[in-house]
Subunit: 338 residues, 2 copies
């Protein structure tokens, strides 16, 4: 493994000169450049970024810490992050926290040791020590997808409250009065916000939300399955369901199918997050679409901006993207036409 020294010797120059040629910094004659470049090629020299980073204190590496890359929403978001990062010369380390605050902290510690330049974090819980851990080392973070109330930190997320409000409004306009909300764990801001938007829409319509209709569980297919089963057991069975994410939607759908409940005839079903068009043949679900790719891009841009200006403690941005309601078949027609 040749080092900068070997190249210098072969080119008959000092090693600092080689460094200057590699980084195209300072002065050197074009003759020197040629000799150095020749030596580099002949030796197959590859600079050691580790050593460089040790000196420069910059690794050109960002950390992407999310809950589960397997969820198409996060996959798309990750792609947005990677594109923006690599365009700026950064590479990406990614980790899955699986919604566990413990895994999250463990990863943050490892990533801090690796001296990543910045973090893109989808926090497992709204109240997370991970952010404090990162901030205590003066490393920039941008929080993605979820709000972290009371923390001075950049956030890029979607208007979950508004999206849920619109979806619920849609259901109400179709004549539904008994609507169940299947959401994620308390403390996860997107889950909380989607319940809040649901509540507000009901109140706007003068409907008193029945507490039993508000179910909380995991943001997984299993969670959706279980909550939908519970919803079907309620004394007054709902005529519509609002699911808080794509996996809950699918799980709920499965429970309904098993119970012989037809969507949308017997039960309207709307949710959050669309599947990418490249993945779905028969679009069926009415959803609030979040611009995952754009969110990833934007968050990365903000992070890179912070890195460039080294201004961590300034005022913090909160970028909130609107959701886009896409009406398809799962919401059904107006109930009164039945």
């Amino acid at each position: 493994m040749p080092t900068i020294h070997d190249v210098a010797k072969r080119a008959g120059v000092g090693s600092i000169t080689v460094s200057r040629v590699i980084n195209n910094s300072g002065y050197f004659s074009s003759d020197t450049r040629d000799r150095v470049e020749k030596a580099i090629v002949e030796l197959g020299y590859v600079p050691n970024t580790l050593a460089r980073s040790l000196r420069s204190k910059r690794t050109n590496t960002l950390a992407l810490l999310l809950t589960d890359i397997t969820n198409p929403f996060f996959t798309t978001l990750a792609r947005g992050v990677e594109d923006a990062a690599s365009a700026a010369g950064y590479t990406l380390i990614f980790c899955n926290s699986d919604e566990s605050a413990i895994k999250e902290s463990t990863y943050v510690t490892i990533l801090l040791q690796k001296q990543v330049d910045g973090f893109l974090l989808v926090p497992a819980q709204s109240k997370t020590s991970a952010i404090e851990l990162i901030r205590s080392r003066d490393v920039p973070v941008v929080v993605l997808d979820r709000a972290v109330p009371g923390m001075a930190v950049d956030v890029v997320r979607c208007d979950s409250e508004g999206g849920a409000h619109q979806l619920t409004q849609l259901l109400i306009s179709l004549g539904h009065r008994c609507i169940a909300s299947l959401s994620g764990p308390e403390g996860v801001s997107t889950a909380d916000d989607r319940v809040a938007g649901y509540r507000r829409a009901l109140q706007d319509a003068g409907i008193t939300p029945d507490a039993g209709l508000i179910l909380r569980g995991e943001l997984t297919q299993d969670g959706g399955y279980q909550m939908a089963q519970q919803a079907l057991q309620l004394p007054q069975r709902p005529t519509a369901i609002l699911a808080a994410n794509n996996f809950i939607t699918i799980g709920a759908m499965r429970a309904l199918q098993e119970a012989g409940v037809q969507v949308p005839q017997d039960m309207a079903l709307v949710g959050f997050d669309d599947l990418p068009p490249a993945m779905v043949t028969f679009p069926f679900f009415t959803v609030a679409l979040q611009p995952a790719y754009e969110m990833g891009r934007k968050a990365t841009e903000i992070l890179l901006q912070r890195l460039k200006s080294r201004s961590i403690n300034n005022s913090h941005k909160e970028v909130i993207f609107p959701t886009q309601i896409i009406v398809r078949r799962s919401s059904g027609d107006s109930i009164s036409q039945r």
Copy 2:
């Protein structure tokens, strides 16, 4: 940012002793350990992995270089890789080559500079310089998903030829005689193998494959869309289509829908790669399923094994997983019953 020196001073020991405590290596009294650990906590010391790696020549980082994380097949594969890597104390850098050999080489160069301990590579082309680049630096690689004929390298992939053979056989058994094959670029082993399996099945059945029925394009939705349109223009329109991956399947489906061709009534359609059950409500496509998660896991295990034994030049493994044929509605009933 405190260093190992600061900790040593505070604990009243030499810095090497701190190092020993941190890494739990060599000998030290339990009293020393306590003093050092106390100092570490008090200072909020975090070891600098960069410096450690510079000495130890190991970064505990693996590179995952694939074509597009957005494809659910690769997402699942990536998750398998990450789980196996993190269980062994490794973190993962991931990059998307978008099937471009140039991007691929660029990334490999960057990753080599970052001194990653090993590579997991989905090569953009069967004939790729990336592998040679990596091997020239004596860094272990495991190739994923695609074969690289003539290269002495570990490979974990699926039996594409066999899967295509079975799918084609299925179509033949249903009475189809005029079957189109929509595959990826020549030189991509999975694409080539899936054409080969298709050919063999036809020959087995005594059918001479018409060259016009074998279409090649991109492994994308767009590619599938275009190839399906071409297939519909053929003088003798096929009664069935074999698509080489999930995106081609979806694209083909779209083209058929637009042309008013019903699947499976007017055209049977079978493909490769299933969508994860967590993602799909109405399973429709008959597919050859590849065990993506297991492939990722297995490849990572092999790579970690190589890292442990430092044996790069020994005999190389080729692990070939079977595909599993899942028959659903898109393949339709026997043609003779119409």
